[in-house]
């Protein structure tokens, strides 16, 4: 263990130590004053974010090639720390209002973010697996955090059982990959695979890993758990889970598939194509039938996993891949901001006992709270992909990359499903402005800040998206 090793993982190490310390400090903070814990957690995440952004020196692997620090890891880590901050901000008032305020909430959130960051830095399949567990286990607990509420317990148990099952697939895939190549390190796999002596075993291993991660990021047909878990889990948890688990899952998929398995494109491109198309179609069509806003956003998150997965379809084409992956990463940023904004609005309108979550409860919002309704409109438009929002820019980059890769059919499916999605996203807007009603909202400073800042960011960045895309591209190009 050298200084370089420690430097590579510095933000992560600081975050983990902070989380351990917070676990103990929280014991001394009396009940009812857990706001202090929230503040400390946010401070730790802010410190992590700062350290991540300050890690500008040369890229390289550390801990005997187990982890890597490069532009991509920095970009994703910064995004993840931001996700954690937004997650704390959303939870702060929410857990108190719902009577589930416990200090462990923030500790678990920190540990989960640590797992996600490790995932983005993993350069070895063993570390990928370790990170997967570290990010998942706190999420299982957080999903059941509204205990003894039955729906929340069900969400936690369902997520745990199916998640453990999916982890099994990943481990099996890693084992087969190891059997085929004799190594678990990503660079070792590239070397072994390019010799052409890996064969069928490696393909099966890669496919199994894809199944496991497909579950984590909610890709059809591994999406069954998503609506129930997203609906049952406390809304603040769902917001964090929807963004964080997706970012980390796709970051790992990118490293594993974009780099290690790039020689398998002949076998896997068709599979990825099908998964992406299926996810977009099923997610968007099932969302139409939903009357509960949490379920609607759950199906919407499935659909968006399909859009992001598009970025991986041209993964065998070395010329298109960097641009396409940059588009995927950019879309992740757009999705994260929009997602947190939309969930902040949901939280602002949610009442105890799960009331205030039907679409009908949004009636009259436009008249009574114009700013909140305007923000929700922005998020719905962004999820649809209508200007002037970040969602449109993200989809534009994605479709452009996919077309450059020669997958016209997939781009057409993407556009058509976006049209379908306009129906249910705009229905929310119509209900808010065209129907009479008396919604009651909660006004908390951090919550208001979250939706207002997200809405502003979604609109403003969409006007000048080039710098962000350039940053994402720069991060990704360092990989290849």
């Amino acid at each position: 263990m050298t200084q370089a090793d420690l430097y590579t993982l510095l933000p992560l190490i600081v975050l983990v130590i902070w989380a351990c310390a917070l676990l103990l400090v929280d014991l001394l903070i009396p009940r009812g004053r857990k706001g202090i814990t929230a503040f400390l957690a946010a401070l730790g995440l802010a410190l992590t974010l700062g350290l991540t952004l300050a890690q500008v020196s040369a890229a390289g692997t550390a801990f005997q090639g187990m982890v890597v620090l490069d532009g991509f890891a920095r970009f994703v880590n910064a995004l993840l720390a931001l996700t954690g901050l937004l997650g704390v901000g959303l939870a702060y008032g929410y857990v108190r209002r719902m009577g589930i305020e416990r200090g462990e909430y923030y500790t678990l959130l920190l540990f989960s973010v640590a797992g996600m960051m490790l995932m983005a830095q993993a350069a070895d399949l063993i570390v990928v697996f370790l990170a997967l567990e570290l990010l998942s286990i706190p999420l299982y607990i957080l999903a059941a955090f509204a205990r003894p509420k039955e729906t929340s317990e069900e969400a936690g148990l369902k997520y745990f059982l199916l998640g453990a099952f999916a982890t099994g697939f990943v481990v099996y895939g890693i084992a087969l990959t190891f059997g085929a190549t004799g190594t678990t390190s990503l660079s070792g796999i590239i070397a072994a695979a390019s010799n052409g002596d890996a064969g069928l075993l490696l393909t099966i291993g890669a496919a199994l890993i894809l199944v496991g991660f497909g579950f984590k990021v909610a890709v059809v047909p591994f999406h069954m758990w998503t609506p129930d878990v997203y609906q049952g889990a406390p809304s603040a948890v769902t917001a964090f889970m929807a963004a964080g688990a997706k970012i980390a899952g796709f970051a790992a998929l990118l490293r594993v598939f974009g780099l290690a398995f790039s020689s398998l494109s002949a076998d896997l491109t068709a599979i990825l194509w099908t998964l992406s198309a299926l996810t977009m179609i099923v997610g968007n069509i099932l969302a139409i039938a939903q009357t509960n806003i949490k379920r609607l956003l759950a199906y919407s998150s499935i659909a968006h996993a399909g859009y992001i997965l598009m970025a991986f379809v041209p993964f065998g084409n070395a010329e298109v891949l960097p641009v396409s992956v940059a588009a995927g990463v950019f879309y992740l940023v757009a999705y994260t901001l929009t997602n947190f904004g939309a969930w902040a609005v949901v939280i602002a309108l949610e009442k105890a006992e799960g009331r205030g979550l039907d679409l009908d409860d949004y009636a009259g919002l436009g008249r009574k709270y114009p700013a909140l309704a305007a923000a929700m409109t922005v998020f719905m438009l962004s999820l649809t992909g209508v200007p002037p929002t970040l969602g449109l820019v993200g989809k534009f980059y994605l479709f452009r990359a996919v077309i450059a890769g020669g997958f016209y059919g997939l781009a057409v499916i993407g556009v058509l499903t976006s049209l379908i999605s306009a129906y249910y996203y705009l229905r929310v807007v119509v209900i808010m402005y065209m129907r009479e009603g008396e919604p009651e909202r909660v006004s908390e400073p951090w919550l208001n800040l979250t939706w207002a800042a997200s809405a502003l960011a979604v609109v403003l960045i969409s006007l000048v998206p080039a710098p962000l895309f350039a940053w994402a591209s720069q991060a990704v190009f360092a990989l290849f």
């Binding site: 263990m1 351990c20 676990l23 103990l24 014991l27």
Partner: protein, 118 residues
């Protein structure tokens, strides 16, 4: 290749056969006097209380979980102790970090009252 394991195979076969033979012979030729006391389930010599499938306190599950946690600590400590001199200071520091992390969990469980039965 497989021939080097032939001794183990013979051992397994012989011991199974011998054990089976003893049981079968006992069943065939042994005298049998059935009394109530004899057909009772054996519970360390005392008279059994209640049915065999008793309800367990759910707390036991917490204890079991904590046990596994520290059991794993031991599992890691033993091999480390074997190669302690070879690993030197590096190994010592690594193990201290590992124990420190477990200590955090231990303190947390303690303070939360997970170690108390009541």
């Amino acid at each position: 290749m497989l021939l080097q394991y032939i001794a183990i195979a013979i051992l397994i076969f012989l011991s199974t056969a011998l054990a089976g033979l003893v049981i079968v012979l006992g069943e065939l030729f042994g005298p049998r006097v059935k009394t109530n006391v004899k057909s009772m389930p054996y519970e360390s010599g005392m008279t059994p209380i209640g049915p065999g499938t008793r309800r367990m306190p759910v707390r036991f599950y917490l204890i079991a979980m904590l046990f596994i946690l520290f059991d794993i600590e031991i599992i890691f400590l033993l091999p480390w102790a074997v190669v302690f001199r070879k690993l030197g200071v590096f190994g010592l520091v690594e193990m201290l970090i590992f124990i420190l992390i477990l200590l955090v969990g231990y303190l947390y469980a303690w303070k939360k009252g997970a170690l108390e039965w009541e």
